[in-house]
Symmetry: C2
Subunit: 526 residues, 2 copies
Amino acid sequence: MSDWKNLDELEAFHELEAVERVNLREVMSGENGAERVRTYHTDMAAGMSYNYAAKDVDENVLAALVKLAREAQLSEKYEELYNGAVINTGEKRLVLHQLCRGQLGKDVIADGVNKREFYVKQQERAAAFANKVHSGEITNEKGEKFTTVVQIGIGGSDLGPRALYIALENWARKHNTLKMEARFISNVDPDDATAVLNSVDVAHTLFILVSKSGTTLETLTNEAFVKNALRKAGYDPARHMIAVTSESSPLARNEGYMDAFYMDNYIGGRYSSSSAVGCTVLSLAFGPEVFARILEGAHEEDVLAKEKDPMKNPDMLDALIGVYERNVLGMEATAVLPYSQALSRFPAHLQQLDMESNGKSVNRFGKPMNYVTGPIIFGEPGTNGQHSFYQLLHQGKTIIPMQFIGFRKSQLENDVVIEGSTSQKKLCANVAAQIVAFACGKDDENPNKNFDGGRPSSIIIGEQLTPESLGALLAHFENKVMFQGFLWNVNSFDQEGVQLGKVLAKKVLAHDTDGALKVYSDLFEI
Amino acid sequence: MSDWKNLDELEAFHELEAVERVNLREVMSGENGAERVRTYHTDMAAGMSYNYAAKDVDENVLAALVKLAREAQLSEKYEELYNGAVINTGEKRLVLHQLCRGQLGKDVIADGVNKREFYVKQQERAAAFANKVHSGEITNEKGEKFTTVVQIGIGGSDLGPRALYIALENWARKHNTLKMEARFISNVDPDDATAVLNSVDVAHTLFILVSKSGTTLETLTNEAFVKNALRKAGYDPARHMIAVTSESSPLARNEGYMDAFYMDNYIGGRYSSSSAVGCTVLSLAFGPEVFARILEGAHEEDVLAKEKDPMKNPDMLDALIGVYERNVLGMEATAVLPYSQALSRFPAHLQQLDMESNGKSVNRFGKPMNYVTGPIIFGEPGTNGQHSFYQLLHQGKTIIPMQFIGFRKSQLENDVVIEGSTSQKKLCANVAAQIVAFACGKDDENPNKNFDGGRPSSIIIGEQLTPESLGALLAHFENKVMFQGFLWNVNSFDQEGVQLGKVLAKKVLAHDTDGALKVYSDLFEI
């Protein structure tokens, strides 16, 4: 069993603190900079590469990070996790999202079943169901094919699957594998469900209700919205709805749904894109083969994450550098900047993944720590962001580390040549230019046009955004967040911080309030 | 003329630093908390209210903020701005976006014209053009009506207009005033233009090319994309395109466009939603009357911002509290959390508005300052965010101030009753509950379920999201950012930080690189 210690109890952390800081501007200039870009990278899955040349590290910092990884037993902890240890200590649960993508270690038996077999079975069931919908074997009550799928869910049942759908929607269209258009209803704001329902042809729409417990207020409310709309249009909700839920939920084996696909307690919402939560909607939208390719890319990355040498393990290295920036250099945020319009909602998924996992103030044993944990995560696609918040990133008083993502080829491979270059080349030229501008800056005698540089970034470079590379990206960040949770000694797999608001909202609705809460309720005329 | 001083040169700032900190948890508890919610608010335009009860202020802090506002001459500076002073010192320009919405002071004459008359004339021209498109007087070359409008622009030509369009699209549909559907092409990523062009019927689409200089690389590249698509489909680009540009740009009075509507140098991109940049696309989408209502709401808020007493000036008060949190309490970010799905992209607009305006390290005179400036801005709509990054907001190590926005009524007024309440009531109950949960926290013997509280927020409460309240929100944040820029003594109206990346990107495309930049270029096979 590995030893769970606070970050500041590790000798290697204090050694890391003592290592001389890197002058990023200096090391990234001239031939030395070129050499860094050539050597400071490590392979990722799906042919991608993690390049950290423009990070504020050098051989000394990296050596200290390697020691830190070893002392923190990152590899051992990952191994325990995928072999089925109770890593989610607060809720006393195993953590098995990687197992949806492939076997990484021993068989994991829980609740009397082999969990890999359970996950594969749900994938096969969802695939068979999707194939029947696509072939017309499963239809609406009039024998007409379903053309649209709407996922009803919130948080991890929404952000991850939605980000993946948006990432591949146009790709699938181009490759003739967009089987059904997908839409998502998440917010309890009635305008959300109303707008989505107004935009689809309910007669030919299949709705997926996603709730592990079968009790999520937002989701059940939106289900009622959908059922009303179906009934009003003369359709039987039971012939238009399926559920993704746990086997013990009231939605399981319920006549109100055509079928149900199961998840379990060992996969948290924000990690559930690989489970039935993502599988069902994405198999319906793109076909099961495309979903399987996402899992393949993710599994390949999970296997890479087993590598004990951090220098050959992009997920672990990214995690280590992030902790260095957060806990030694004192940086509070990370901007995620994909140079790919298809990844427009990927930062919103990462925002949940990271901030909900590691936005914690007590360690796995419930003790407060003397160091900061998860950073703020935000981002928008480049080049859009360049014409927006990059001003602060370049010249603001706060240094914000950046995570770029870029691909050599566009996804749709449709382009124009203007002033001697394609749009895709311009896109790539921009991300290359930004990395160097942030790192090296530029002196100008007009202080308003002066760039200090010294702003660290890394980049993940891939050939093209495909199901495999998308899966690898998904797994990379999940694994990064996991390793950072190990370093911070927090439980990255619970989310007690969302409970208090739920309790108080129920009180408001029950008119069981006093003090400030009562006056706010009155202001809203609740 | 007012006196431009650094924040830390102001006596009132040092007095503010010395004021005893507020224990938010304590003051928001019990009857005292109720009384704060009842009294700590001030009216905004369009019937809205800014409530700051859950902010970390009390009578002493507020008194110090009032002194600070006076010593910093915030009202005087605003007056100089709207009367036409050269407030954008770096670029030696007037700052006139408020003038698009109404006259606030004296006539402003620049370049030999009355600028209010100029802006009104552009609004009238765009309105007349839009009316002709809607009536079928202006058609495509086959005499068929245009049904869709696509804005081609990036940064302020995209984020603001897009956020406003999304905010009112479903509202307009409900009120039978959605005249044309709007889409936006922004990114130089060729996948962006390709996807949008694949999703519209180009035959019946009118394209608006938006570029002040007529030289924005992304925008001209995307224009070429559009022109190719039009030609390929057998249509004449000159019969499908209009321009929004400056009168001196190559796009003005150019036979390649059916018409052109003008902006000028006195309105920066991120402030341009009220100018021809927003006017043209929104008048085409919703009709000129709806756009005029947005401006009315904004103008009403601009007038409120003239109020010299900060306690009656919500824009100034919000700015002052933000500077207190940033510069005295040391908070690095602000989360913008609209409880309205229609405002889903409003945070992205505010991210540009705020971070591009005040993400600066030198003051208006080009001197470095000893204090921090603009914060990180991020956000997603509630209740979605509650199931995502709120974990960190509630229990993370970093305290992040929050700006909530909520409305008593939903926008579409279509709802269902579940467990005794409508979705809209649930939405309002959630935002009320969150404010109190963040401020007051809750003790729990399980440290994992303990909430420290003390996390400050304010809320803007409105009756409903309409064109007027949307305009008021737009102006509120513009004015807040302006007042904060005055306090920090920065020029909030230039953006020199975006230049270096542009220069380097051009070098990459010209293969005029060495060092790290050359190797990155090689990695991308540019």
